[in-house]
């Protein structure tokens, strides 16, 4: 059984609670154990690095040190948490002066970090050969034929990790592979790794709304019934601010945006409520009721 230190990140406690519950359900079905990181703190999102890079690193160092104490690698469901933890980890592993400085700070919480932890996005934990095999075996007809736009977002693929080719980070395909394993039908989606606007939704609304429109249009052009995301910020922007896009551009977008774990859960027969479905502002009810998706009556 694979075990990870699970780092939910701040959004999964409330705004993205359905991502949390659906991740738990899917992990359970796949025999992956997620042990919540003890007393974890915020990863810093993109704001800390604009204030101070040592501040950004020390906050991630604490989470890494706690995982090391638990003897587990970290898995994070949020793109930004994943990128920040990964980046801070790599920085400390290659720079012993920085690691020493961070360890001096970590003493204040009785922690120490030797650099032994690996950081993984939960998408990667659910797309191993073993996990894919298991999903294929367990998936029923529940989301069969559902046309899904697989939205990666940015920081799950960028900055590119060592050993990854530009073609793979530019046009990744593992999300689509995962959706196919679950029976869904991924649609062509050229903007699948283009930015949703991220925190610009707060700091520069006009820019973010335009970026969001471009992504939504790309999904709609592909004929998507639903957009699947792997990041709470992407989900919030794509879903909650669709109305802002419609207001600004006179469009009529009404595309449901679900977490990929909710679709995986549905595929493997978990009830919608247990996956947090029903908490959307753009209802997914109609999309999920399409005739092709209704399981065969017995």
């Amino acid at each position: 059984m694979t075990r990870y230190a699970y780092y939910p990140g701040c959004s999964l406690e409330t705004m993205a609670a359905s991502y949390h519950v659906s991740s738990m359900e899917v992990a359970h079905l796949l025999g992956i154990e997620l042990e919540e990181l003890e007393d974890w703190n915020c990863c810093g999102a993109t704001a800390y690095s604009k204030v101070d890079e040592l501040l950004a690193t020390v906050l991630c160092a604490r989470n890494l040190a706690i995982a090391e104490r638990q003897g587990l690698d970290i898995v994070a469901p949020c793109n930004a948490c994943y990128k920040n933890l990964w980046t801070a980890n790599a920085a400390m592993q290659r720079d012993s002066d920085l690691a020493e400085h961070m360890n001096y700070a970590l003493e204040a919480d009785d922690l120490h970090y030797d650099g032994t932890v690996e950081v993984t996005h939960i998408m990667n934990a659910f797309t191993t050969d073993e996990a894919l095999e298991s999903i294929r075996a367990k998936a029923g007809d529940h989301i069969k034929g559902l046309r899904v736009a697989a939205y990666y977002g940015c920081q799950i693929v960028r900055p590119r990790r060592p050993g990854v080719k530009l073609a793979e980070s530019d046009a990744p395909t593992y999300f689509e592979t995962l959706l196919r394993a679950a029976g869904a039908n991924p649609v062509p989606f050229p903007y699948k790794a283009r930015c949703c606007g991220a925190a610009l939704m707060v700091t520069n609304r006009r820019a973010a709304v335009q970026m969001l429109r471009d992504v939504l249009q790309s999904a709609v052009d592909g004929g998507a019934d639903v957009i699947a995301t792997a990041c709470p910020l992407c989900q919030t922007n794509l879903e909650c601010y669709q109305a802002e896009v419609n207001h600004a551009y006179g469009t009529h977008y009404a595309v449901p945006v679900l977490y990929f774990t909710q679709l995986l859960g549905l595929a493997m027969g978990v009830g919608a409520r247990r996956l947090g479905i029903g908490k959307e502002l753009v209802s997914a009810g109609q999309a999920l009721k399409r005739p092709a998706c209704v399981p065969a009556q017995t």
Partner: protein, 191 residues
């Protein structure tokens, strides 16, 4: 006698010093091809494109660079860093310039982004976790009254779905966290 200019560094070197811990290539490698600008999804909202900003840095035009909104308009999507044929990482340059302008106090006081970044950092030092409703004062008045009404309407719907936290979450060992941070930088610089 050694010339009095010994010991002074160019603005480009100053910016590169801010990037000392990053792995990207030096800004002198820039060939002004504008691949970064073409890759940027927010470029039309910037007063200088990323390519122009690098040219301004190289030309030593510090005042123009520090008055620019370019780095505060960066969404950290890293598309530019991926595509630069010379291995420069413009996204890291954007972070560095944001920090520099906060440090120098040259940022636009009316802009939302610097205020948001600092609110965010302060929130984490108080509780150890992010708290979305706490950032509302940074931007809620931006869209005027109609924008505020739309924002409130959405907040009410999210509340109804149980998706908005009413009380900020807090980590257990917040005192230790603060002591940790105090070991790397003075807290009063942020709070």
């Amino acid at each position: 006698m050694v010339a009095a200019t010994a010991g002074t560094i160019s603005f480009r070197q100053e910016v590169e010093n801010l990037l000392y811990a990053e792995e990207g290539a030096s800004l002198v490698r820039c060939i002004q091809c504008a691949t970064c600008s073409a890759a940027c999804p927010a470029v039309e909202f910037m007063d200088h494109t990323p390519r122009e900003l690098i040219a301004l840095i190289d030309a030593g035009m510090k005042d123009e660079v520090l008055a620019s909104n370019t780095y505060w308009t960066c969404a950290s999507c890293y598309a530019c860093s991926e595509k630069c044929p010379e291995g420069i990482r413009p996204a890291d340059v954007m972070y560095a310039l944001a920090r520099y302008s906060l440090w120098k106090g040259t940022f636009d006081r009316d802009a939302v982004a610097p205020d948001f970044s600092r609110r965010f950092a302060r929130t984490i030092l108080r509780t150890g976790k992010s708290y979305e409703p706490g950032y509302a004062p940074a931007f809620i008045f931006e869209g005027g009254f109609p924008g505020m009404v739309r924002e409130m309407r959405m907040a009410v719907r999210l509340l109804g779905k149980g998706r908005l936290p009413l009380i900020p979450a807090r980590i257990k060992r917040i005192r230790n966290l603060r002591a940790m941070v105090a070991r790397v930088l003075p807290l009063d610089g942020i709070e």
